[in-house]
Structures are given as C-alpha cells and as structure tokens.
C-alpha cells in the first residue's frame, strides 16, 4: 500500500525542512495526512492553514487523494512581482 510520492519544498517550507526535494514512501491518503508526517519527520509546527497544496502542478484540496508517483508541493504564501 506504500505510495511513492515526490515532494518539493520552497521558501519557508524549504527553510523548515532544510531539503529541496525528496522521494517519500508513505501511506498518506491525502495532503493533510502527508503534512502531519512531515511535521513529525522535520519537527516543525508551521500551520497547514497558512499553506495551499498542489498535486502535479495543480492547486487542490488538502483532502484530495494522493496517487503513487504524484508530485506534492505545499505552497507557502506566494509573493511574486
């Protein structure tokens, strides 16, 4: 049941995880579950409510279903321009 998930980290989240990207094998069903795993793994408590999430480069719900080989990115508040 383990899924292969590609994670990329940017900005504040990269700072907290000290990682650019990684492949994770996880049972997480949703980004919400996955974020809990990351908070434990990297020991941070930055709130999910400050973030958005994208699966395969599309914004989606924290309760979307993650499939194996998906790319999941937690998106801190953007500030282009």
């Amino acid at each position: 049941m383990n899924k292969k998930i590609k994670l990329m980290y940017f900005a504040k989240i990269r700072q907290l995880t000290n990682t650019d990207q990684e492949i994770l094998f996880s049972n997480a069903e949703t980004p919400r579950d996955l974020y809990l795993e990351l908070q434990i793994k990297y020991k941070f408590d930055y709130p999910l409510t400050s973030l958005k999430v994208a699966i395969n480069e599309e914004y989606c719900s924290f309760d979307s279903k993650i499939e194996s080989n998906d790319t999941v990115v937690f998106i801190p508040p953007v500030a282009g321009g």
Partner: protein, 146 residues
Amino acid sequence: MFILTDEPITQEKITDWKKNFTKDISGAAVTFEGLVRNHNEGKAVSSLEYQAYPEMAEKIANQIINQSKKMYSTDEIFCVHRTGHLQIGEIAVFVLATSAHRKEAFNACEYLINEIKQQVPIWKREHYVNHDPEWVACHQCKHNHE
C-alpha cells in the same frame, strides 16, 4: 506567453519584446515594471531573492494569460518574471499588454499582474539593512483552500 528567467530584465530586452508583441492593429501598449525598492513596511531593504516552482509557475501564469485574453480584447499579453538575487532598482517582473484600445490594454495589464502576484508559486525573501532576511507574503492573497 510567460517566461521565468534568472538573467537581469534589461531595458534592451524590454525594447525587443515591445517590438515583437506590438502589431499594426495595436493602438495601445501598456507596460508594468515591478522594481525592487529600497523599503517595505517601514524597513530598509538591501536586496531581494526570488524563488519559483518553475514548472507550476509557468503553467499557472499561462492559464492566467489565457484567462485575461478571454476577458479583455487584447492583441498580445506577455509577462516575464525574475528569479535569483536582485539589487535595488532591478526589474522583478515585466508585463506588456497591447490592444486596439487603451482601456483594454490597461485592464489586461493590471488584471494580469494582480493575478500573477496572488496565484503564481513565486516567493520573495527580503534582505534588510537592520534585520534578518524574511520570506514575505503578498498581502492581497486570499488563502482559499480550493
């Protein structure tokens, strides 16, 4: 068309883009340049760092451009955004909208930069004269969890 670049956005490049994206039917060209300024919310800024999630930034920015082409009657809409470390006065983002009529060009240009700032996964870290650097948030952003 949207471009991410870690090379400086120079006036020479802007001149070329304007020539390329202006047609004989165009009566109006409106441009926006977002510049690195030396202050933000009362703090003296020494430089800026932009980080992007490139694949998604390009995808979302092109969706926004297509959306604005549907909303406004333009000839061309073009946007380029910097990444990397920028000094005061450097151009962080350039937007060009051309149209037969000026109202459409103004509206398209302003709509585009507003949406780019709110939706495109690009982050800005401000380096200050007297403080530690910080990742800053766009204040108009609505963090709806769609």
